[in-house]
Amino acid sequence: MKEPKRLKRMDNYRFHFRKLTSLFMFTLCGVSVLIALVPLILIFYRTVAFGFSAINWDFFTQMPKPVGESGGGLANAIVGTMILVGLGSCMSLPVGIMAGIYLAEYGNNWFGQSVRFLTDVLNGVPSIVTGVVAYTVVVLPMKHFSAYAGGVALGILMIPTITRTTEEILKTVPHSLREAALALGIPRWKTSLQIVLRTAMSGVVTGILLAVARAAGETAPLLFTALNNRFWNTSMNQPMASLTVFIYNYAVSPFDDWIAQAWAGTFVLMTLILLLSLTVRFATRNKFAGNLL
């Protein structure tokens, strides 16, 4: 009778020890999440609190006023950011997505391995370096700053992100779907594009949005490519304003209304990216694949 009782007490002890360990680890995870969220919430709070109050209709419709004059807006910078990110996307989306497809579907060889490695290296290159590259290959030959140069810099920045996320997402598509398609006599390239890519579309779109958001938030690569412009300009061949460069210039200025406009610019940039994400997600959603990837 004694033996089973002792065992039972032992089991009870172990059970409680496990429960305590579980509780401890769970708390640890929870605290880590909170710590990770603190800076995010602070930034978000400050941006909304300072930015929202500085926003008015003029901000979206007026040009920047000369030093000393109050009021004005950043209409040119809002449009400029859209154009620059648009240019960068035009360049990086086709290259990035197709490279991602190649790596996931055909990249199981030394060439694929090298591309994968170089893409990771490119992903880790500081953004100002891509600015220097764009300066060297676009600005110097053209002999002036331009939106093209800014677009190239952002495009170079976006390619590795899009390539790698596309590849990783395509790899999560079950092999059985590829086999099902190939067994129907569907050529391999069509299988890649119309079955695999289509199945993984929502994940690929997430990767693209991440890259777009990152590009929209970049200042360094634009500083000596698109430069900046205090006037209305939609010519790609001219220096172009962007929200981030304006935020940078205004935030370090000694004028209170410029600093307020920098906050407003930050808020607008954040909202633009949010709206873009929502729109693109809504437009590319698949009514069957909502719960797929």
């Binding site: 086999e179 099902a180 129907l184 006599g185 289509r198 694949a289 797929l292």
Partner: protein
């Protein structure tokens, strides 16, 4: 043993055509495999397989796990070569033409395949799933596609269950319905041969019975090769049975003979459940 309604036809036919000594007709063979070996890297999965598959018949391939049944099946429509580092030697003739001398895309159109796990395209509706092979094969005539989809679903005995929900998701169907959807999808490209890799092993007995019933119907138009783990299934549905063991074809004969009076000891041991 019960009588096999689906096989009676073949037995009658067999009296009039030459046989290979095992009751298997040697005339109008749909597929002939000559010394087929398949490799994964350096590992040989099947060795010198020699088999002829008569037209409009059901041939079952049985054998223990890892005996190369699936590999042989996948060699027929050249799916085996899709895996990195694999190769196939020997000849597989479809209507007398070596499939390894033709374009794999063309071969896979003529030789359809149904897999163990139902795998409908998750982003497509039921209709689009069946139409996928046609559309991506270059057919864009809407009326034609609609006709083929209806015909294929009817052949797969699924039409009455899904005709009102063709625009719904294919993965929303039950497992058995999904598998019949995959059969319909394979039939839509109008193949001549249907390869089935344990098509009912992931299904419950009722769904399995439906698939088996379907096979008798499909046999009238197609030549069917079915890999199965389930020996009762092989006995129920097939006209001829091939027993694979350790990558080799041990015995190939009329199904009734394999299950009642096999001529090789290994086959007898396997079908009576003594090993495997």
């Amino acid at each position: 043993m019960r009588d096999y309604p689906g096989t009676r036809q073949t037995f009658i036919e067999m009296d009039t055509i030459p046989e290979n000594g095992k009751g298997i007709p040697v005339d109008h063979n749909k597929i002939v495999a000559e010394k087929v070996s398949a490799f994964f890297g350096k590992v040989q999965a099947i060795r010198d397989i020699q088999i002829n598959i008569p037209e409009n018949s059901i041939v079952a391939i049985i054998g223990p796990s890892g005996c190369g049944k699936s590999t042989f099946l996948r060699s027929i429509n050249r799916m085996h070569e899709l895996i990195h580092g694999t190769r196939v030697t020997g000849k597989i003739l479809l209507d007398g033409e070596d499939v390894y001398s033709l374009d794999p895309v063309l071969i896979r159109k003529k030789i359809g395949m149904v897999f163990q796990k139902p795998n409908p395209f998750p982003t497509m509706s039921i209709f689009d799933n069946v139409a996928a092979g046609l559309r991506m094969g270059g057919t864009h005539d809407r009326k034609n596609i609609a006709e083929v989809v209806e015909r294929s679903l009817q052949q797969a005995a699924l039409w009455s269950e899904v005709k009102d929900s063709l625009s719904k998701s294919g993965v929303g169907l039950s497992g058995g319905q999904q598998q019949r959807l995959c059969i319909a999808r394979a039939l839509a490209v109008n193949p001549e041969v249907l390869l089935m890799d344990e098509p009912a092993s992931a299904l419950d007995p009722i769904a399995t019975a439906k698939i088996e019933e379907l096979l008798f119907e499909l046999k009238k138009r197609y030549t069917i090769v079915i890999v199965t783990h389930n020996m009762q299934q092989a006995a129920r549905v097939s006209d001829y049975t091939a027993f694979f063991y350790m990558g080799e074809l041990i015995e190939y004969d009329i199904t009734k003979k394999i299950f009642t009076a096999p001529s090789i000891k290994q086959t007898e041991d396997y079908v009576t459940g003594r090993f495997g």
